[in-house]
């Protein structure tokens, strides 16, 4: 047994991981979610804003992290839409622009009463990362003279009175890396005191905790936090709870439990092999 495990072909481990994720997906296993403190903080940051507030949504991620971040991005969109907040979309990653398009598709299909230019607007992607953030904290038109449809900002009802992002009531950043939440904290939230919440990948999430609560009002770390946020929204807005498209993160928690259990099993077995081999080697 020990020798078999020591020489185990790694493809068996690959297969076990594949099955650990595939079977819960096929059986549609979903578990109840308990809203954690962090998810509640993010939920409250958006919920407590007066209806119709200005919210800047920066999507700084790409298809590689779509599986983790798109559910929380869509949840942000639905929450802001149901609160009637004015949503200003932008992207600091080149492949973030199509992610914004997905959120706009959600608005157009689920909230058809919302009007482009009055309730939501999209800005093009701009290169430069922190330079873009620095610029728009002082002069929005310097970076975005027009929206993504080529209409000058002065001709759009919801942007004509916006000088820079200091006129925003909240910044929502969905981030997969650099540029991302760290740059928003460094160049917008800290120097100008702009209230910022973040949804970020599991890799990034632990690094954001020192910024809470003075520099970041809350962080959704990884898919689990996205599922908790969805649960918080469902509790507050039953109409969203009935929408199967709004439960994507919750659905992905089924495979998480099984796969995490597999990971712990693998660590335990790996260490068992190590200790037994060492003992037999010493004996």
């Amino acid at each position: 047994m020990l020798k078999t495990l020591q020489n185990l072909d790694r493809r068996w481990i690959f297969l076990s991981m594949l099955l650990a994720v595939a079977i819960p997906i096929l059986t549609r296993t979903v578990f109840p979610e308990v809203v954690s403190k962090q998810a509640k903080m993010v939920f409250d940051a958006i919920e407590d804003l007066p209806d119709g507030s200005n919210v800047l949504m920066s999507y700084d991620f790409d298809p590689a992290s779509q599986g983790e971040l798109l559910p929380m991005a869509q949840a942000f969109t639905r929450h802001c839409s149901v609160k009637g907040h004015k949503q200003y979309y932008m992207a600091l990653w080149p492949l973030g622009s199509p992610m914004v398009d997905l959120s706009i598709d959600t608005i157009q299909s689920e909230y058809p009463d919302m009007i482009y230019g009055e309730d939501y607007v999209k800005f093009d992607y701009k290169a430069g990362g922190e330079a873009v953030i620095r610029m728009i904290t002082q002069d929005l038109r310097g970076m975005f003279p027009m929206d993504s449809k080529g209409v000058p900002l002065d001709n759009i009802p919801m942007t004509k009175n916006i000088k820079n992002i200091q006129d925003m009531d909240l910044i929502v950043n969905v981030s997969a890396g650099d540029p991302g939440t760290k740059q928003w904290v460094q160049f917008a939230a800290t120097p100008f005191g702009l209230t910022t919440v973040s949804g970020c990948t599991g890799v990034q999430a632990p690094q954001m905790y020192p910024y809470i609560p003075e520099q970041l009002a809350g962080v959704l770390g990884a898919i689990k936090a996205a599922a908790e946020y969805e649960a918080a929204i469902d509790e507050a807005y039953p109409s969203i709870a009935e929408n199967p498209r709004a439960q994507e993160a919750k659905r992905r928690m089924g495979p998480q439990l099984v796969a995490h259990s597999l990971m712990i099993g693998l660590i335990v077995i790996g260490n068992w092999i190590f200790f037994v081999s060492r003992k037999r080697g010493q004996a």
Binding site: F14, S16, M17, S36, R134, Q138
Partner: protein, 231 residues
């Protein structure tokens, strides 16, 4: 000249930004520098694309092993550029339908959109999804509790792995007394993130900040000239 002028450019550019941050009079200089930086970033993208083509063309011309795949890379690169730059399949902007080129280059249904949706998305996302498998083999083969520190790491990882799923609640349901609920893995995970993780990350963050300040000062004062390369 080859090294002096770029050195002066780097120092001046950096100090313009610093001065613009503190002196309102110089704010417009900083904004101009930032705009140029953003435009130059696109130049860097073009350079990246050019370098990619150059390397793969060299591989094809010298017929090195795997040159056929370089042909695929170059074909995909130029194909994407062609369909994207020429806005193939893109309709005009409905606000200005008489301007044929006014449409959004990534319009739903256009050729570039098709490439993005059916090639870029599945390929890039599956590439990164493969990491799940490698993390599993790493867990089995490499993560060993050889000493106190490694044991601490693995125990914390185990608590967080279970705590961030329903198992963190379910494992303790029905038998854990109310006064001991803090031991439930989900509550323990929250505590781990709030206290030890915040402490460790804060120390790392402060250390990195000091390092970045030191490195930036070295560049702005002209001490570090490694970016100038060799003559």
């Amino acid at each position: 000249m080859k090294r002096t002028v770029p050195l002066i450019i780097a120092i001046v550019a950096g100090f313009v930004l610093l001065i613009a941050n503190f002196i309102p009079f110089a704010e417009s200089w900083g904004l101009t520098a930032q705009e140029w930086f953003n435009i130059l970033a696109v130049g860097a993208m073009v350079l990246g694309g050019g370098n990619l083509v150059k390397l793969h063309l060299m591989k094809v011309s010298s017929k090195r092993k795997g040159w056929g795949y370089s042909v695929v890379t170059i074909a995909c690169f130029f194909g994407t550029l062609f369909f994207g730059l020429l806005k193939i399949g893109v309709h005009p902007n409905p606000l200005t339908p008489d301007y044929a080129w006014s449409g959004y280059y990534l319009e739903n249904g256009s050729t570039l959109w098709w490439i993005y949706e059916h090639m870029v998305v599945p390929l890039t996302s599956m590439m990164f999804a493969m990491l799940a498998f490698y993390v599993a083999t790493a867990a089995f083969r490499a993560f060993r509790a050889k000493n106190t520190e490694a044991t601490l790491l693995l125990v914390t990882a185990g608590v967080v792995l279970l705590g961030r799923t329903y198992a963190g609640v379910w494992l303790f349901e029905g038998w854990l007394p109310e006064s001991m609920q803090w031991l439930r893995f989900d509550n323990l995970t929250v505590w781990i993130m709030d206290i030890p993780n915040t402490a460790g990350t804060r120390a790392i963050t402060i250390g990195i900040a000091l390092g970045v300040v030191a490195t930036s000062l070295r560049i702005l004062l002209g001490v570090d000239r490694s970016y100038l390369g060799q003559d």
